[in-house]
Structure formats: structure tokens, C-alpha cells
Symmetry: D2
């Protein structure tokens, strides 16, 4: 059976049945997205609209594409990396009517170029709304594919890194479309970045290494929402956590949370597991590798693939080999061996199934509402980075609380008056 | 020995020696404030300036007054409540050259009026800078003491509640001075509200009741920074925590943090300990008291004295009596007995020593720098609510990290460039 | 008003009203002891029996004495130290018909001799049953007061230390009475030693120092049940915990629990707070003091008053002075200052109210049932250290679970058969 | 390539290369077992001795077999279940000189009989020492294979369940060989049962379901060492934990640890995830299934395959299907769907890689030393259940502490004297 159907390029359509199961599982555990679909997305705003999506191809992202399709959109998806493609899911997506450019075998030796090629194919569909990842689509659209700018109503972006890039584009006066910072929705970053990254990063590490966290000296580089989640759960599993930061207030938070706070070069000497979550490049470099203990484990949980300088690590090593699925061993000239999990790319995806379903239910409810907002309101929005209206954020949270059987109160009129008054 | 020296009104100057010890202890554990004093406050900005301070009178607040005095200011202090005055500290302050209007016996039966009277006495000194608590001084200054507005360079405010009140004044077009939201400094609310309130509230509850937290069903009302700190430490001490909220995203955070999230009337039925930290009035009312279990413990950790409707509780009770120091028993007509710790005022001060010294070291370094900023830069500041410049916030955090032997990194130029660039 | 009534020696009988309140509070929160009294203790076994009790004099111990009195016993109590006497409670006890030898002013300069004198007075009443603390009564009874051995039916002992001493006496062939190891009841040491010591030790430290635990490097010396409780709660409050041990398996547990495990001399260099809980002498000595950082805080949570070598610390210091209630400052010749909380005696009693009431409800239900068992069954018991029958232990736990509204299951007959069978 | 080599029966010898990698990874992370081998096992005690091993076939168990082989033993291994066989590891073991009876395809439809057949094959080798799992070998040896009893020097047993079975055999007067309760070594159950089961059970659940633990109502059935570990880590990952117990003291511990404690039928109504760890049969039965919420997840972490009544669940269901790898969906007649992870067998093995390597390093150091002790000292040991000498237990812990760079102290002679003395 061919891997190409319509325009789609996937590994093997024969894998679809397993992919359908996975997507169904995601659908079952996405009560918020389901309700958002039923109550908001079916109003015709998506009817016939092309939506370009760049996201890792696994069950939850697939279900977002399915939901947008159900709402009438023509959806095209590509993966930001061939290491973040589950071929069975890609195949199932094609059967669900989504155009898919994603295969786990696509040019692993030159993944950056390949990614650009795939993004370009998504853009060539002329999307009206972009669901972007690290501003990859937006950057191409404003440089090599400017001819397609006229079609684009706007872009939604779900990473901290991508939002920063879009803001930089806007600051440089380049951005010509409205962007919704899905990442900045409280229902996104408070949960996805923190709890989602936290649980899935550690699960990926534990399953791929089969090592114990209890007692381990775990170094978390970056104490933003992602780092906070990783550090908290690592401590919850018994690890001894050290945090590295560049922001003194975040450093102080880490200290008050009970963690050691050290410069990364100092932490390099005592750490047993290193997890980067900073959003910048070159956080762990040969200078750090040179100080690490024999057996140190490295992984990246951030959106940036070069937080760990894997190229530098490879150059420094005398031999590189696979020692377990998703674990590479780098033999150093002095005899030490360092281990890299998930190739230095975001480890919960390259060595795991990504965020928990319930987390992505929240995130994709936000994403779907961002896309919906852009589809509907773009004419009133100026180029620049916008936040999702607070009411939408609140509604998503309320739907989720309801889905899990929790309840909250409302302020009484007297309380609202009290809050507004300075005379009492 | 008289309790009045110069213009000061305190309980008993003979208590000063014990007060000096307490202040010295605070001074010893305030490395950040000490360094801020040495590096910033002694530049003459405070020389001869009258600074009016409204804060609970205990060792740490006293030390702030002492430091400002050392920097050349004429400092007048009053307490927001007679229940928040340690008379030995008040006496020591007088001996340190501070004008003090505070005595634990001041009219407890009519504390609101008495507070207003004391604030008025502070204002009558014609302060150039106000260090305010819940906007009490600012409110009087803009109503009954408008004649003194001309003197006032600005106000610094350290509670969430007070900042909201000042913002409300500004929105109504009434505010005529610049206000610095000390509370909104990250070095303040991330630590003071969260860790400070958390530790000191639970310590006050444990020492005043001698009851165990492990296993107790503790209901935390409000999941802002204060509530987050209380809930976290309560869980850390083994309590089973339920959170009540009005904001769905905060409610969802509480759920993901592992807590039950319930409407307050539902939580009223199962809770064993209730702690309010909302910043609004009437959070626990007779409707809630009517549903509570026999033996329920109530306390308020928020800035608002009427979060627990103590008047309503008293009316409902057939008898009220002291059963332990700081614990009152309210006998209900149906035989249940409810217990109120610290009179419904902020419990870590009325039944304890307030926030830990190290927390107030941070908070008062911020406060001192806010006052300093107002003293120096007021001419360039417009009326309204301002935030402390980020650099000052960062410096305080860095000083603290240094004081505790922790270290951080700086971004490399390449990393800064990477963060600013959208092309990579 | 005299402090002596009948044979009792207390500070001031006029303090009784405050003491009664405290005892009443304890009674209210002792549902298990109350039920044990109603269902077991009133069967006449205690009628006219003299019971000698050595325990700190505060509300919960007082209530045990009251309950035994209510059950018909003639109860005499003394405190193991003048620093563990609350005079109001002592006075109230006298009014409740208990003979009391305890006053906070009793010879603090020579507390050891004074303690022996008080124990001797308890023995001179000729107790039939002893409720002992660290085997103090039992040791005297088998040495200087052997003439009273004939009266004694047996002793109950509630500390790990005391049980070890009694076992040592038995091993030496000296013990002539049956001893019940109340400490070894699971309802005692799993809760009292762990959660009780944990919460109350940290509460005492936080209230007496007003310092923050979050971020502090807290060194826990000893990782038995007491140390485990302290370390867990310290971590729960954000401390960075280091454990010192002599038992490698316990050390390994501490490591797996996420703590650093270091020899005490190494830990001495980095610690900020030191808490001993070992049951042996000279855990922190001048060798350790010499390495400690300026400002280090020391406290003992164990049953042994010489875990911290206070005499050695005093000798090394150039000046000793009180800096806060319950906190002494020791100025070292090199300028460092070390701080001792609660005089090196068990800090939750010397600088606090002791264990939480609910914990002592369990412990004293066990103690009362031990005394009852000895009163009733002594004739069938041989000299030596005995454990409380498992059924009694289980019953106490079941009563407590019921009191807090929790429930458990019972094994079905099939499950019991399954457990006994090796053929399935 | 055939799956049979010598007498071994494995799936496919061609899988060996991947298996060797896994075993090498285990070897790298087993410093304690390696040191035990070098210092104790090579003394000739194992030379030519047949050792029969029944354990899940994965990398760590394989490495134990390899080490014993290196020490001179003729080792035969079988798996207690075809669902606990990694075929690549089995193949590699054959290449390492171990006789292996294990294949993942062996008669899954009748796994109990198949297991008996495999155990029998192990016994037919005439082992001198047994390393047993749930007393399977020992039971056969004392019933159908009594003729081989003469060869057997003794058995080591590593599960709580197996030790109980051997004790039952001894009580019935049937046991004819000495058994070492490896499980009862502190270095085993304190770590393997608690931290090992805790981490690996939750990792298996998270990876197989891709669901979030934070906020989930997780019901842990059984609060022995396994249940304690599961509950602790689940709470550390943000779950809301309920514990079910039959022992009131354990129930009370769970309550004091901050968990709800409920009868299982009550917990069945609110739970979202159910994990059994009791060691008895029929813990979750149709009566419980009938009350569960739609979507409930079930898994077993205990040694007993029938803790969850899977047969009863299947009978009650109208349809059973695989919905994800290792997850089966049971459609109930009323429309609810329940999900079973890992077939109701011990989930960390059937849906994961088993305990972390470092945990098994401890456990298998104990196992190897038990086997060594039996090989060497059997002549001096009576039939019955023995514990490993404390010194060996301590040595293993000390080796591990050393391997992770932690250190402990030793009692001084004065301290030892103090501990033995009752006169001080």
C-alpha cells in the first residue's frame, strides 16, 4: 500500500487502523475540545477555510486536526521534525480527510532543511489561518512566501519561543498579520508548559532509561513554567533538584521551593541528570560536558533543539552509539560516557507520546478557539501579537472544571462592589 | 515609667529592652535590607524627610523604621490594629528615635475608629512619603486630610488589597500622588504573599491550637499567591486540602496541584480547618457556619478583616469564650462549637510573630527602595499606580541569592541575540 | 495563694483556671482516650491503685492523669525537667485530685538532681503501676528504692530510649517487674515519634526563631521515626534537608527520599539548622560547632538531653545570652554566633506545647491501656519487656479512624484462606 | 534462526544483539551487584552448582543470571509468565551461557499451566539453589518433584507473597529446605517494594495511557510497602489519593500521610484510577466494577495476578478490545467503559520495563548473597524461613551509599556504651 494518498505524504497508509485507535483514545479524553467544537466551532467560520498546522504528529495533535476538519476546514498538517511523527497516526489522519506531510523517515540526516520543505508545502496550500509551532510558518510566510500573505488571516502560536519570535518580528516592523499568543492563555502555559511538560518529560526519561529518579541529582536548566513543572515532579519522585537560571527572581523562587540554585558550570560537576528548558541555545556546551560525571544523562525539554549542543557533544566524543531505544552513548576521550535521550530534541515527543491527553485537551481547546477567533475576527485585528480574550480563557477553564466534577463560586454583587471600592 | 515620650504613645517604655533584642534579631537576619541601606538609602534622599508608616508593630517592621531613620528620615509609625502591636517593640522604637502611635490596649472594642485616629496622627506629621497598608493613609489623605496632599511625594503600598484600592482611586480620577505598588514587585508577592503567609499562617494555627495538620481536611478560600502558599505547606504537613475559588483558571490550577476544588458552601460541610485568603469580604458567613462540623477551626490569613464574618458568627452564637490564648469558642444553638483563631484578623500577626524575618528582609528591601524612589524621583512621576523598575526588583533578588550562597548565570551575547532574533 | 496543696508542690494554685481551660481543650480533642476510658478503664482495675507518672506537665499529659483518676486510680505525677512544666496546668491538676510534684522554678541550675528528687517522691507513694519516661522511675526503683519493688505490678514506657534501657536492665538480669513497651505499639511510634515530633519540633523552631524554613539547609541527625518525621515535614515546608545516620540502611532510605546523606562533620559545614533526633549522646560536639557557619541554629528533638553537647558549647563560647524567648546566643571566639533553641532539651516541649493533641490522644490511649493491662494482668506476666497485645493496638487505630470518619475493609474468609495457603 | 539452542527455548536467537545492549545497560548501572560479585561470589561456592531461577525475563534479572554464571554456576531461568518475557533479552542470555525457558508466545491462553510446565523444566535440571518467585519452585519441589528435594540446598524468595507461602509450608510441617527471605532484607523491601514499585508502576501507567496524574482521583488498594510507594509518588505527581486497607494501623498511617481512607466499595464510586497492591485475591470484583465511573482505569501492582478479578470483569463486559498497547477496554452493559492496563498482571512488567535498574541492583545484590549464603552455609541451616544476616544487609546498603557518593558515621565507643547502659 502506498504512503501517498491525494497530495499527502505519509509512511504507510496500512498503519491507519492503529492510528485510528490512538486518535479515538485522545478524543475520548478531550471533553473540553469536544464541547468547544459543539458550542463554538460549528458556526460556519471554518467552512471551506484552509488551515495550516505545524505540530508533532501524534494522537492529540491529530485530533485537533480532525476537529477542525469536522468544523468544515480544509486542514493541512506537517511535523516540525521527522523525529516527531507517529506514522500510524499520520496514516489515520489521511483517512480522516486531512492533508498530511509527515513521515518518520523523511531525511533524518538533514532534518532542518526537510522541515523547511514541509512547512513550505503547508504554506503552498494558501492557508487562511496558521496554527504555528515556534513561528516556523510565520517566518517563511514573511520571507520566502510573501506572495501568500494576502490569504492569511492570522496565526496562532503555542510555544513561548514562537510568541517571542513573533513579537520580535513585530518589533522589527515586519509582521503583517495578527497573531494570537495561544501560549499566553493562562489555560495553556499554566498547564501545558508546567504540568504537561513536567509529567511527560520525566515519564519519557524514566521509560527510556529505566533508571530511578529517587535520590538522583537532577539539574533543571531554566525555571520558567516548563522548568518549574519538571523540578516539582522530579522532587515529587524523590530527586535532589538543582536549578540553573539567568533571572534572579526565578532563581530565588527555586531556592525558596527547596532547590539548590547554581551556575550551570558548577551544577555540571555534581549533576546526574540534566534537563534543559530555557528557550535559548547552547545551554549545555562542551565546556559543561567536560565537567560532567561519568554516566550523566542529558535531555532537552524545551522548544529549542539546540539547548543541548549536540553537535558539540558529537565532536567531542570518540564514539557514539545507541545503547537503548532513544538513548545514545557518547564516549569521551577521557573514558567518561555521557548519555543523550531523545537526540536533544524535545524529549517528551522524541522519546515518548508527548503531553498527557487531558493537557492537550486544554491546549487545543485554546488553539481551536484562537483559530476560530482569527477566522472570524481577523478583519478587526491589527498586525501584532494579541492575547486571547480573557472570557475565552475563563470559559475553557470552567469547562474543564466541570468535566472533572469540580466547582467554583461567583463573587456576590457586594463582593464585587467591595473590590472596586477604596472607601471601605 | 510613662508610656509617652516626646509625641509617641506606647504602652510602657520599660518594655524596651526586650523589644531591642527582637529588633536586633531581625537586623541580624536582614542582609538584603542592610545592603540596600548601605548601597542606596544613605545618599541623602531621606535626609530630613518625614516618612509615615502604617504597619503592624513587630520586630521586622520596626527594623524598617530604624533603617529609614538611619538613612536620615523622620519616621512616624502607627499600627493598623491594636491587635497587631507588640508593646516591647513599640517601646524600643521610641528609644531608637522613631515616633510611635501604637499600643496594644488602644480601644480594642472600637478598633476601626481607633485605627483611623492613629492614621490621622501619622498624617498630621505631614509625611513626604507614605508607606501604606491597605491604602489606609492614602484614602484619608485624599478625603479628610486633603490639606496635606501638597507635602506628599508619593506612597508605597504592600498589600494586594491596597494596590487595588489605589488603582480604584486612580480610576475614579481622585488619586493625586504617584503610588508605587510594592506588592507587585516580584520580590514581594512571590515570596511574602506565598511563602511568608504560608509558613506563618500555619505556624500560628499550629501553635495556638496545638492541633495536628496531618490528615486534617483544610479548606483554603482563595488561591491567589497567599492561598497557594497556605495550600502548599498545608499539604506538605500532611493535610487534605480543599480549595475554594471564584476564578476558574486558579480553580483549575488548584485541581492540577492535587486539591479538591469546591464551592464554599459544599466545602463548609466537610472542612475541619478553614483559612480565608481572598481579599474580599464575607467569604465565610452565617450560611457557611450553619453547615460546619462541630469543632471546626476558622482563621483569616488575608488582608481584609471581614473575610470571616465575625460579627455574624457572634450573633449566631449563644456563648463566646476564650478557650486558649488566641482561640475563641462560639457555641451554636444546636450544640456545635466553632473556634476562631486570632479574632478573624490576619492570623499570623494576631496569633503569631508575622512573616519570617527573611521574607520581610526582601519585602522591606523593596519597600525601602520604593520609598527611596519616591523620595528621589517623585517629580518625574505622574499620579497613578506605578511598578518598581524591574532592575531594582532584580537587584534585590540577586542580593538575596548572594546572601544565601546561591548563584545564577548570565545570558551570553549569542543567547541574547538568539532570543531577539526570529530568523533562526 | 500557696503553691502547695495536700502533698502537692506546684508554683501557684491561682493559675489553675487557665490550666483547666487547656486541659479541657485536650479533653475535647481526645476522642480515642475518652472512648478507651468509657469502654475499658472503668472496670475497677484502677480502683484505689496508686499510679506514678513521670511526664512533661502540660495539657495532654495532664488529661491522661485526669482520666486515670476518673477511673479510680490515685495518681501522682512529676515532670522529668523543670523546663517541661506549665505551672497553670500543674495547678489545675491539683484541683482535679492529682498529686503533683512539678514547678517550673524547681532548681533549674541543677535539674538532673532535682529530677531525681521528684522521681523519688513519686516512688515514695508506692505506685502499683508506673508510667515512666526514659525509664527514670524504673531505674530508681531497681537501685535506691528496691524496698518498693514489691508494690510494683509493672511499668509502661513511652520512649524509644526508655524501652532500650529497660531491655538493657533485663539483659543484665536486674529487671524484676514486667514492662510494657508502649513506645513499640504501632499506634505510638508510627504517629507520635514521626508525625508528632515532626510537626511540633518544626512549629517550635519556627515560632521561637521567626525564621523561614523554605530554602534553608536543615540537617537532621538521626533517621529513625523521629528524624523521618522531621525531615519529611521540613522538606514539605521547602527546606533543603541533609540527613546524618550511623545505620546504612536508614541512610539509604534518606537518600532515596531525596535527601543528602553526609557524615555529621561534613554536614556541619553547610547546615543552617541542626536538629538532633538520635537517642544517643554527643551527636553535636565542639568539633562540629567549630565547623559551623555563623548564625547556625541548633535544637534537639530527641529524648536525650545531651545529644547536643550544651556544656561543650558553653565552654567554647566567650559569651552566652538570651536573644529571643527560648533562643540563646553563643558567641564563639572567632566571631561566629551559634543559636540554641530550647536549651538542648526536647525542643517541642521546652520551646512549645509538645506534640499535637490528636497525637497524644493516640499515645495516651495506648499508655492508659498499658497501665490497665499491667494493673489487671500483672500476675500472669514475667519480668522483662513486653509488647502490648496486637488487638489492643489495632483497636486504638480503629477507634481513631472512626473518630475522623475514615473507614477500612475486612478480609473475606476466601482472602484469609488465600493468605494462609501456599498451594494456590 | 532457531529459537532453541542447547536445551534453551526462546523466541528468536536473532534478537540477541538488542538484548545484549539492554543487559549491558543494566550491568553499567549495577555497581553494588558488581562489587558483591567481585568481593564475595567468586570464592568458588557457585562452581559447578546448578542454580534455578524463576524471574521475569528482562535486562536486570538477566544480569543476575549472568553474574551467577560468571561466578561459576550453571544457571537455568524461566519466567513466571509469558507476558513477562522480553525475547531479545532471553536470546542474549542464551548466548551468555544461561539455559533459558522463556518465550513471549508461550501459550498465553493458558499461562498458568504453561508456567507450571516451565518451572518443572527448571526443577528437572536438579538445582542446588533456587531463586524463587512467589514460591513457585518451592511448591512444586515439595509436591510433584519431591524426588529432587535431596539436591536442593535451599531457596531464596523475593516477594512478600512468596515468603508468606514458604512460612505457611513450614507451619504445615512440609518445608524440608532452608529458605532465605530475601524480601525481608531491609535493602530489598524498603526499596524494591516501595520506591521500585512506586516509580515503575506509575511510569507504566503514564506511558501506556498517556493520561495525566495531576488532579486524578487515584485509589491505591493496600498500604504495605508497595502501596506506600505508589501513593507517595502519585501524590508527588499531583494525584488526589485514596487508600483502601484492612489493617487499621496502616489505614491510620495513610490518613496521617494526607490521604482519604475508605472501604473499597466506597472508593469504587469516586476513583478514576485503581491500583491494587495487596497480595490477596479478589480485591476488585464485579461488585466494585458495577459502581465505577465511566472511564475508570484499573491496574495491578502486586505479586498476585488475581487481585483484580479479570475473569469477572470479562464476564461482565459485553465487549473487550485493545484500545492502546497494553490497554484493554471493557464495555459494560450499561454503557460505561472500564480500562485495564497490563492484563491485571503486575503492571510495571507487563506494560513496562519493571523496576528501575538501581533498585534491582540492590535487590539482586541481596538475592546473589542469599544464593551464595545458601550454597555455602546450607549444611548449618535448618528447614524453615530464615533472614539474611544483618551484616550482609548492612554491607549492601553501605556499598550503595558509597556508589552514590553519600556517607554515614559510626557510633563512637562512648555512644555504644551509652546505648547499652540504663544507668545514665
Amino acid at each position: 500500500m502506498s504512503g501517498v494518498s491525494n497530495e499527502s505524504t505519509v509512511m504507510d497508509l496500512g498503519l491507519a487502523p492503529e492510528g485510528h485507535k490512538k486518535i479515538e483514545w485522545a478524543a475520548t479524553h478531550s471533553p473540553v475540545l469536544n464541547q468547544v467544537r459543539d458550542e463554538h466551532l460549528m458556526d460556519g467560520s471554518f467552512e471551506g477555510l484552509n488551515v495550516g498546522v505545524v505540530l508533532p504528529i501524534e494522537a492529540k495533535t491529530a485530533y485537533l486536526a480532525v476537529v477542525l476538519t469536522e468544523a468544515g476546514a480544509d486542514v493541512t498538517v506537517a511535523s516540525p521534525s521527522p523525529f516527531m511523527v507517529q506514522d500510524d497516526v499520520a496514516a489515520a489522519l489521511v483517512e480522516r480527510g486531512v492533508t498530511v506531510y509527515a513521515s518518520s523517515l523523511d531525511a533524518p540526516e538533514d532534518s532542518e532543511k526537510e522541515m523547511e520543505r514541509l512547512l513550505d508545502r503547508v504554506l503552498r496550500e494558501g492557508p487562511g489561518v496558521l496554527i504555528d509551532d515556534r513561528a516556523g510558518l510565520a517566518a517563511l510566510l514573511h520571507t520566502t512566501r510573501r506572495n501568500l500573505l494576502a490569504n492569511a488571516r492570522g496565526a496562532s502560536e503555542e510555544t513561548t519561543t514562537g510568541v517571542a519570535k513573533m513579537a520580535a518580528m513585530h518589533e522589527e516592523g515586519i509582521l503583517e498579520i495578527p497573531c494570537l499568543a495561544a501560549n499566553d492563555a493562562r489555560c495553556k502555559h499554566l498547564f501545558d508548559n508546567r504540568y504537561g511538560t513536567g509529567q511527560s518529560t520525566l515519564t519519557a526519561l524514566m521509560q527510556s532509561t529505566n533508571l530511578m529518579l529517587g535520590g538522583k541529582r537532577v539539574v533543571v536548566l531554566g525555571y520558567g513554567w516548563c522548568g518549574k513543572g519538571i523540578a516539582r515532579y522530579a522532587a515529587g519522585l524523590g530527586a535532589r533538584v538543582t536549578v540553573c537560571e539567568v533571572d534572579p527572581v526565578r532563581g530565588l523562587e527555586a531556592y525558596a521551593d527547596g532547590f539548590d540554585v547554581l551556575p550551570a558550570l558548577d551544577a555540571a560537576e555534581t549533576g546526574e541528570v540534566f534537563i534543559t528548558a530555557t528557550g535559548v541555545r547552547d545551554v549545555l556546551t562542551p565546556e559543561h560536558f567536560g565537567r560532567m560525571r561519568n554516566g550523566a544523562i542529558l535531555a532537552n525539554a524545551g522548544a529549542v533543539d539546540i539547548e543541548v549542543d549536540v553537535a558539540g557533544l558529537s565532536s567531542a566524543a570518540t564514539e557514539v552509539r545507541d545503547v537503548r531505544r532513544d538513548v545514545e552513548e557518547f564516549a569521551m576521550p577521557d573514558g567518561r560516557r555521557l548519555y543523550l535521550v531523545g537526540r536533544g530534541m524535545v524529549v517528551n515527543l522524541t522519546a515518548g507520546d508527548g503531553h498527557p491527553v487531558e493537557i492537550m485537551d486544554l491546549t487545543f481547546a485554546i488553539q481551536a478557539l484562537c483559530a476560530h477567533h482569527l477566522a472570524k475576527e481577523y478583519a478587526t485585528m491589527s498586525p501584532g501579537v494579541h492575547r486571547l480574550p480573557k472570557e475565552i480563557d475563563d470559559e475553557v477553564a470552567a469547562l474543564k472544571l466541570d468535566a472533572v466534577g469540580m466547582g467554583i463560586d461567583a463573587l456576590t454583587p457586594e463582593q464585587e462592589r467591595y473590590l472596586r471600592s477604596w472607601r471601605e
